[in-house]
Amino acid sequence: MPKFKSVEELRQFRSQVQAELEAQKRTGTTIIIGMGTCGIAAGARDTLHAILEELRKRGIEAQVSTVGCIGMCAYEPLVDIQQAGGPRITYARITSEKVPQLIEEHLVKGRVIKEWVIGRLKV
């Protein structure tokens, strides 16, 4: 881990991290779970566990990461799926029991579950 001794070091590190994160996103699937307090209150922790379990069962190597609150409290728990560098697709109210279907449809079959989707986010 770097301890930046100068501004140049910070900026160099930034470009390097950007490239790494970009490559990571471009070459696979990232699942992002909103884990602010409201997400957790709506059951995001159970959702996270269900996702990890489902991925393990199916042997899928997706990157799972957590983020804070994006502001749509009414739709928590929110789960985003981003694949191959495309936009993040946000699913609303993904409680743990919906997870197997979500993984099956979106990852395995490559189909969006229209009724659960609320939007796409260019990142």
Binding site: L10, T37, A74, V108, G110, G119
Partner: protein, 1014 residues
């Protein structure tokens, strides 16, 4: 995964789906190609686990470039090695394409919740992993700090922040740059930077969101502030109720220290800065800066008078800069993008964005960041999606328990620090709590006072005692024990508190009650004068939400429970105590009770109206003779009009021993019930059965007897010896369109059209094109009647949107099913024709600002006029009372021709009273019944010299025990009403609704939650 030993790593996904799609062949083909070129030492072909892109397999990824190819075939192997691995070229054909099904998903910027937002302070929240500093750095994090440390002096930084116009996001709105300058100028070597993260305002959680979602932006902002003012130490005072925020802050601080972004010699410069976290211990007053500082020092968090300001003598007596989380978190963006950029957003005096926590009764609750100056209504209706469950907007409370509320008229306000303050609300912490018709503003004010008095530190008298007095008064009012003098007292105490309390908590405590009183005074008065809580919240005044919602106060849970037991006669008796028109209301009532039924919050409201109908129908064969309740009085009362108001009043007075004569102008009794409500909603024999009941009570109904034509008020009072007159003449004059061509033959008034049909001289609309103008129940009735008369096509044109239509939702749905065509956002400008109507010119409408009903006002769009062909035009844009039957000298009227009456329904002439539509304007049967009951009470009191016999016993509510196991009905869905099929019913006049079966009805009753027993 990336092994640098090789020049390139090619990984083929060998998850089960990819294998099924031929991944193993691809592996082989790639290996062969590598071998063919003799590159085994340089290029490695390996297998990877499933990437989760199963439908696009086989998936191949090529490192170190991180290129992903989909649907790779063995035949692609040579090209991949040749072009991509050796020449760094991308093979477009194999790259990931966003599937079409994804492309139809709207982007965030196109969905209403985000369209009007501008995320600056919240830019990273929900986007990055807050526990990973790398993601923050990747999004440009710490660039602001880097910039100030290497290219700006502390004075430059202060100048930049001042120029940006950033005002304190904690709510007070003081210029941040100026505050920094004060602290920088204050003498002393040791200075502190403090962050107020004690977000104590109920309903505000944006600070939490920043702390949890993007903690580094706060740390960076504080470091920049520390550099600017010359501090080496900072404190974040965070409330203990936010454990996750504290945890993430700790992680963030630790990571920033590890990376050399906090601590000694940051980024190799001689600037050093450390941040410590102080957990609050639960005291709202610590949001006040001097109290907060006392708390960090380990003392009771009591405020002290200022000056000296913390900028001069703050934490441990040293100069201290204190800002809110959002202020600090915004600073790095200003530094990176420049003051001019920030300054260009929003109005000049309040630049930048505002963050609101939108909560309460809106559909899209959440955190919203918008440019300052955005109209309040856009935040609530466009971003927030409007009110949930189809209820009506009532008010929005901003600024938390020390803020204020705004009614619908405030929806056009452009939100910023100054505009909100002028309107009696404040920006405060940014809580924005939307309330609907079910929130009582008196109880709401009491709630805030309960909070504020509990949080008062007790140090100064105005706050400690004044708050308590206010709370006592409000408690009294919510219990129905208040007096009108109490309202004056509230104002007095409030004024005193705001001018003499020591700190903002005490000064602002009266804010919510003052604004509620300013905008919702009539609601306070209803509690005091009528012992009524219109919203149905105040326990002492409310039997249950349904009873409270019923204008006539019918005891819904009791009769519903009796119907459940099959005791229909008893049930009906309870209904008739307050409303003699069960057969009618069981068919036509808009059922205010159902709109407020608590079951509706769980799933669907109880089908109260249909239960009522079954109950009344069941007893139809047993004629009711209303009992005489009091001795005969030897006094005569004349009632003018035989609608629901007049007949109810007549019935009550007859039951109390008066001689009552009802004068009806038309040849049929029943008013609008007989002449305007169509037969398919209310069969005439059903109506006449209920009128016959009232006649059996001894009421005489004189038909074809019209006030102003056949007799005058003077005749009744002076010649015919009546002791009192009740005017219940209704509102039969259809409003005019006031457009050219209105006088053409073929242009009809809605009420006249319906009346003609009811009285047997229906206008001929067979085979014609009928256009109805309006959005209320009369418009719908007219359109469905026209269909049944054989019109070729029927159109409804309405100037607003469908959801703004005042007509009953079920009526709109049924009309659509029958084939009525709706056109929204169009308004007539001219009726075309030459001797007869040939068409109607319409202009399209756009929605503008909000009106007092919280609906957007429609405006014509010039140049969008078009003509709709029409043979008949029916105007149904509302009704006013007719005015030809009495002169203005006799009776005073309001501007819409309704009569001016007292709260007790006395007109301006002695002995003359009024009830129903002539008082209310066009309304409903049940509202008319309620007025009939009320006016009867008033007349009784008048005729008994103010000492009527008590009615309390007769009107007392009695509890009916629950006879079923409520838990068995926890999941029971609402029973569906069988109806005639649309294509059948549009050709006949029989009732659309067919009624419940006995079994279905009694089961439905058991869905009632019996709120009356709480």
């Amino acid at each position: 995964m990336v092994e640098s030993l090789y020049r390139a790593n090619i990984l083929v996904c060998t998850g089960s789906e990819c294998v099924a799609a031929g991944a193993l062949d691809v592996v082989q083909a790639l290996r062969q190609e590598v071998a063919r070129r003799g590159l085994e030492k340089e290029i490695r072909v390996g297998e990877s686990g499933c990437r989760g892109l199963c439908s696009m397999g086989p998936i191949v990824t090529i490192y170190p470039k991180g290129i992903l190819y989909c649907n790779v075939r063995p035949a692609d192997a040579a090209e991949i090695i040749e072009k991509t691995v050796l020449r760094d070229e991308i093979i477009e054909r194999l790259t990931y394409k966003e599937p079409e099904s994804h492309q139809s998903i709207p982007y965030y910027e196109d969905i209403p919740f985000y369209r009007k937002q501008l995320r600056i302070t919240l830019r990273n929240c929900g986007i990055i992993d807050p526990e990973n500093i790398r993601e923050y750095i990747a999004r440009g994090g710490y660039e602001g700090l880097a910039k100030v440390l290497t290219t700006m002096t502390p004075d430059d930084v202060i100048e930049e922040i001042k120029r940006s116009g950033l005002r304190g996001r904690g709510g007070a709105g003081f210029l941040t740059g100026l505050k920094w300058e004060f602290t920088r100028r204050a003498p002393g070597d040791v200075k502190y930077v403090v962050c107020n993260a004690d977000e104590g305002d109920p309903g505000a959680f944006m600070d939490r969101s920043v702390l949890e979602g993007d903690p580094h932006s706060l740390l960076e902002g504080m470091a920049i502030a520390a550099y600017a003012i010359g501090a080496r130490e900072g404190y974040i005072y965070c409330r203990a109720e936010y454990p996750l925020a504290i945890k993430r802050l700790k992680i963030a601080i630790q990571q920033a220290e590890e990376y050399g972004l906090l601590g000694e010699n940051i980024l190799g410069t001689d600037f050093s800065f450390r941040i410590k976290i102080k957990e609050g211990a639960g005291a709202f007053v610590c949001g006040e800066e001097t109290a907060l500082i006392a708390s960090i020092e380990g003392k009771r968090g009591e405020p002290r008078p200022r000056p000296p300001f913390p900028a001069v003598a703050g934490l441990w007596g040293k100069p201290t800069n204190n800002n809110n989380v959002k202020s600090y978190a915004t600073v790095p963006q200003i530094i990176v993008n420049g003051a001019d950029w920030f300054n260009s957003i929003g109005p000049q005096r309040s630049p930048g964005t505002a963050i609101f926590a939108l909560t309460g009764k809106v559909k899209n609750t959440g955190l919203v960041e918008i440019p300052m100056g955005t109209p309040l209504g856009e935040i609530i209706f466009d971003i927030g999606g409007g009110i949930a469950r189809g209820k009506r907007f009532k008010a929005v409370q901003t600024g938390g328990p020390l803020g204020g509320c705004l009614p619908a008229s405030g929806l056009n306000l452009n939100v910023d620090f100054d505009s909100l303050r002028q309107a009696g609300a404040v920006m405060g912490s940014g809580g924005m709590i939307v309330v609907d018709e079910d929130t009582c503003m008196v109880e709401f004010s009491k709630f805030f006072l309960t909070f504020a008095t509990a949080e008062s530190c007790g140090k100064c008298v105005p706050c400690r005692v004044g708050g308590k007095r206010l709370l006592e008064i409000l408690t009294r009012i919510t219990e129905g024990k208040g007096t009108m003098e109490d309202l004056d007292r509230i104002e007095e105490i409030s004024k005193q508190m705001s001018s003499t309390a020591l700190c903002a908590l005490g000064q602002l405590t009266p804010g919510p009650v003052m604004s509620a009183l300013r905008y919702f005074r009539e609601e306070f008065e209803a509690h005091i004068l009528e012992k009524r809580c219109p919203a149905g919240t105040c326990k002492e005044l409310v039997r249950s939400p349904c009873v409270n919602a019923c204008p006539a106060g019918v005891d819904v849970p009791s009769y519903v429970s009796l119907v459940a037991q099959g005791k229909y006669a008893e049930a009906l008796e309870i209904h008739r105590q307050r409303n003699p028109f069960a057969l009618v209301c069981g068919r036509v009532c808009p059922a205010f009770c159902e709109q407020h039924c608590r079951r509706g919050e769980l799933d669907q409201p109880v089908a109260i109206r249909q239960i009522k109908r079954f109950m009344a129908d069941h007893e139809l064969s047993k004629p009711w003779t209303p009992p005489l309740l009091e001795p005969k009085k030897d006094k005569k009362v004349a009632v003018i009009g035989s609608g629901p108001a007049g007949l109810t009043a007549a019935l009550r007075l007859a039951q109390w021993g008066y001689d009552v004569v009802v004068h009806e102008a038309l040849p049929v009794a029943g008013g609008m019930m007989a002449t305007v409500i169509p037969e398919y909603r209310l069969p005439r024999d059903i109506l006449q059965a209920e009128i016959a009941n009232i006649e059996r009570a001894g009421v005489e109904i004189k038909l074809n007897s019209k006030l102003g034509r056949d007799f005058t008020l003077d005749d009744l009072l002076e010649k015919e010896g009546y002791d009192a007159v009740i005017l219940a003449v209704g509102a039969h004059a259809s409003r005019k369109l006031r457009i050219p061509g209105e006088e053409l033959p073929g242009v009809l008034a809605g009420v006249d059209f319906l009346k003609g049909v009811a009285l047997g001289n229906a206008p001929d609309v067979k085979g014609k094109r009928v256009v109805v103008i309006g959005g209320g129940n009369t418009a719908i009735d007219a359109s469905r009647v026209a269909l049944r008369l054989g019109a070729a096509e029927v159109h409804i044109v309405y100037r607003r949107t469908e959801q703004d239509m005042p007509a009953m939702k079920s009526e709109i749905r049924e009309a659509k099913e029958e084939g009525v065509q709706f056109h929204f956002l169009v308004n007539p400008t001219r009726i075309e024709g030459n001797g007869r109507v040939t068409g109607i010119e319409l202009v399209k409408q756009r929605l503008g600002e909000f009106d007092s009903s919280a609906r957007r006002r429609p405006y014509p769009i010039e140049g969008t006029e078009f003509v709709m062909p029409a043979d008949v035009v029916i105007r149904a844009i509302g009704q006013n009372p007719e005015t030809d039957w009495a002169s203005d000298e006799e009776l005073e009227r309001n501007r819409n021709a309704t009569l001016r009456v007292s709260r007790e329904l006395a007109t301006t002439r002695e002995g003359v009273f009024a009830a129903g539509d002539v008082v209310l304007g066009a309304s409903t049967v049940v509202e008319a019944v309620a007025q009939g009951n009320r006016v009867a009470m008033t007349v009784d009191a008048y005729l008994q010299g103010g000492k009527p016999l008590p009615k309390d016993e007769w009107l007392a509510y009695t509890d009916v025990p629950v006879t079923w196991e409520m838990e068995d009905y926890a999941e029971a869905p609402r029973a569906e009403m069988p109806v005639q099929a649309p294509e059948v019913r549009r050709n006949n006049w029989r009732e659309v609704e067919l009624g419940f079966s006995e079994e279905a009805c009694r089961e439905e009753c058991r869905r009632c939650l019996r709120c009356d027993l709480e």
